[in-house]
Amino acid sequence: MLPLKDRLKALFASVDGPRDEAQFETLALEAFAWQYERNSAYAAYCARRGTTPATVSHWTSIPVVPTAAFKETELVAGERASADAVFRTSGTTRGRGRRGVHVVPDVSLYHASLLPNFRAMVLPDGLRMAMLCLLPSPDAMPESSLAHMFGVVVHRLGARGSGFFASVQDGLDIPALDAALTACVRNEEPVCLLGTSLSFVHWLDALHAVQRTHRLPTGSRLVDTGGFKGKARTIAEEELRARYAHALGLDAAHCVNEYGMTEMCSQFYDAGLRERTLRGESGPAKKHVPPGARSRVVDPETLEPVRPGEIGLLQHFDLANLGSVLAIQTEDLGVQVGDGFRLLGRAPGATPRGCSIAMDALLSAAAERRS
């Protein structure tokens, strides 16, 4: 039999096939045993609950770790010293200022999950296009998992003209972004924009201030991610979609929202673009769960699954997290939709988190320095 990592990579690549429940089950239990053996803090956490690989017969019984744990300890299944990457959350938490740390011992497994999923969800038509990121490069933000992810996408999937249009010092480079888009429009080459929701808001505000709009070439699209400050997520999303249509000429189907977190190697994307490309219509709004992950909506008090259609906290089981902890309890509210879910945003009163907050602070600070 192939080593565990190779079988996981094969599972992650099976984006076009049917969901293989038996295969997921087998690999999840193996991955749990792997982590139990190598991640001593997590093993101690399991032991305190009387759980060992011998007592777990289904992936749903694997002990979940709240994301808060990543702030207290380094949850590594493997060699910390030789880890490929160490990502940190933006650390805007209830004033405590502690940042979550996600150590990734082997980024090849991370990339093996990231790339097929991105292709399937953002590029289901197989087009190759310039990837323009409204974020500093991964070299400038080595601790940002989002910058890392965009870096991999630019490097592996981006056409000529791809790049990063922001810096840590000065925030968004609007003139350079404008020039890159103008070139794409002139050559009628579709383009993919990537950024946090808040970085897009900053950019759209700047475009609005000078009454400028773009008509992006057919096939263009964007990926936005992260939360909104002080607004109900659904309203904020709708408003932002309307602004994308007005300022960039992108219809809702070509705006793909990504939901990811520093503590997880897999991502969840809106299913709409893929559905529309493959089946002609976008279908109900939902996040697609990739083959290497499963998500549940659980009761906040009991952590047991809620009835279908009820709102609860999202719980993710992500096999791409082999190097840390695969079972994650979030503070995000969601509702199950088919084999995916709808993200309703952070549970009110819980810790705000998100790369977009850091990005927003960064951009605001840069704007202040300029003025």
Partner: protein, 466 residues
């Protein structure tokens, strides 16, 4: 399915109602009217007129007698029953909690408590009628209450809204109350019951709900009121301060927290230690820790072992209370916050730190005791989540609390009488509003100071005749 009125509006005409707002919680529907523009102003004029007739003409003692009779009637099963049934689904508290809290709160609305309060602050009420001599003052003084007080209630502790209304009535103020969506029931019930006892006096009260910050309604109320009394979060209080007219008097009951101290000598005898832990657990469990008098942390004098022993006793007591006084509903964000604080402590323990987590039964967040070895003050996510930590000498606790003193309410001290007397001045200077024991912690006496001021004197204006 039952429909309850979450309002009391004298002179409400069908034409005044634009439409009805309903709050549906587990089959209990609370309805409140959305008033047409201009109606609130008319009602405020009505409140002022009713006040001149029904309050101006009566002594505080007479008003107290009416309030007492109203409370008596209100507590009769046919009256209080439907509201007691509705409180758990509407407020989220458990049924035994609703009953216990209403029973205790109602003591404050009975004649003995009202008389003690009048005696303590307004010369038995005579100070409202005539210039009276006051101890230590050469000139006699007369207390003048506001004509109209606007109360913005919060929903954390059932019944506080009624206490606030009762105190305003005692100083002859008409009352405009804005209920919180979290507890829209007891204030209207009191006003409706008052209408049965004394219809004229009930016309001095209007109680209504609208979403906080709704501009037109709130602006009218803020502009018209002589005194504004606001209960709520720091954000709410700041918002009201910003929007109220400059001339307004604002009485703020903002966010506060409480703590406990346990002296070494209380742990020597197991029975005494058990009694202290029981009382501390009850103080933690009451109001599901939503009260400003609910403890967030308890310092135990001695080494970490002493703190650990006390934490275990506290955990046992909280476990027993989870049966006799069950916890109510918890929102997703708070449940996540409780898990976060537990997880943090648990992983620090796994990492070798001297921390112990006692996490209630099963996966639930029912109650949590975290025993630390060293820590500063840390606010609790509430819902019966408490931290216990050692302190070498109780005298060392006050300076550690002082940085958060601006928001400190009660400090409960379990210690000998002499030691409490010795500790109290330091705690007072560190910010405490009240020093008491764990038994009395949840129930501040009606005639005590409220957040540092007299409960009635903070409402009135003193006029000297010199």
């Amino acid at each position: 399915m039952s429909v309850l009125d979450g309002f009391h509006l004298p002179d409400l005409e069908p034409a005044d109602v634009e439409r009805w707002r309903t709050l549906d919680r587990d089959g209990v529907i609370v309805r409140t009217p959305i008033l047409r523009p201009g109606v609130l102003s008319r009602m405020i004029a009505g409140l002022r007129a009713a006040r001149a007739e029904a309050l101006e003409t009566r002594s505080a003692q007479e008003i107290a007698a009416v309030i007492d009779r109203t409370t008596e009637l209100m507590l009769e099963p046919p009256t209080i029953g439907p509201v007691l049934d509705a409180l758990p689904p509407v407020t989220g508290c458990s049924a035994p909690m609703a009953r216990l809290v209403v029973e205790h709160m109602a003591e404050e609305w009975r004649r003995p408590a009202l008389e003690r309060l009048l005696d303590a602050e307004l010369a038995g009420g005579r100070a409202l009628d005539a210039f009276v001599e006051r101890p230590g003052r050469r000139a006699p003084s007369l207390a003048v209450g506001p004509k109209l007080s606007f109360h913005l209630f919060s929903g954390n502790v059932p019944g506080v809204a009624v206490t606030s209304m009762v105190r305003a009535l005692l100083v002859r103020s008409a009352v405009l109350g804005k209920t919180a969506s979290g507890e829209p029931l007891l204030a209207p019930l009191f006003a409706r019951t008052l209408a049965r006892v004394d219809p004229a006096m009930a016309r001095c009260i209007a109680v209504l709900y609208w979403p906080g910050g709704e501009d037109a309604m709130e602006k009218t109320a803020l502009d018209e009121a002589d005194v504004i009394i606001v209960y709520g979060s720091g954000e709410t209080v700041r918002d009201i301060r910003r929007r109220a007219p400059d001339r307004s008097r604002i009485i703020e009951h903002g966010p506060r927290f409480s703590i406990g101290l346990v002296a070494r000598e209380m742990l020597a005898d197991p029975d005494t230690a058990g009694r202290v832990a029981d009382a501390a657990a009850t103080a933690t469990a009451l109001f599901d820790q939503q009260g400003c008098v609910s403890p967030h942390m308890i310092w135990v004098e001695g080494d970490p072992d002493a703190a650990d022993r006390f934490a275990r006793l506290l955990a046992d007591a909280l476990d027993r209370l989870s049966v006799t006084l069950p916890r109510g509903r918890i929102d997703a964000g708070s449940a996540a916050a409780v898990r976060e604080i537990r997880t943090a402590a648990e992983f620090r323990a796994i990492g070798g730190e001297d921390v112990e987590v006692f996490p209630g039964p099963n996966a639930g967040t029912g109650w949590t005791v975290i025993r630390e070895a060293t820590a500063g003050f840390r606010p609790s996510p509430l819902f019966r989540t408490i931290t216990v930590l050692p302190v070498e000498r109780l005298e060392d606790a006050a300076p550690r609390i002082a940085p958060w003193g601006a928001n400190l309410q009660t400090v409960a001290v379990a210690a000998s009488r002499e030691r409490v007397a010795g500790l109290a001045p330091g705690l007072a200077r560190a910010g405490a509003m009240r020093v008491t024991d764990f038994e009395r912690m949840p129930w501040p006496p009606a005639d005590g100071h409220h957040d540092g001021s007299g409960a009635l004197t903070e409402l009135v204006r003193w006029v000297d005749l010199d």
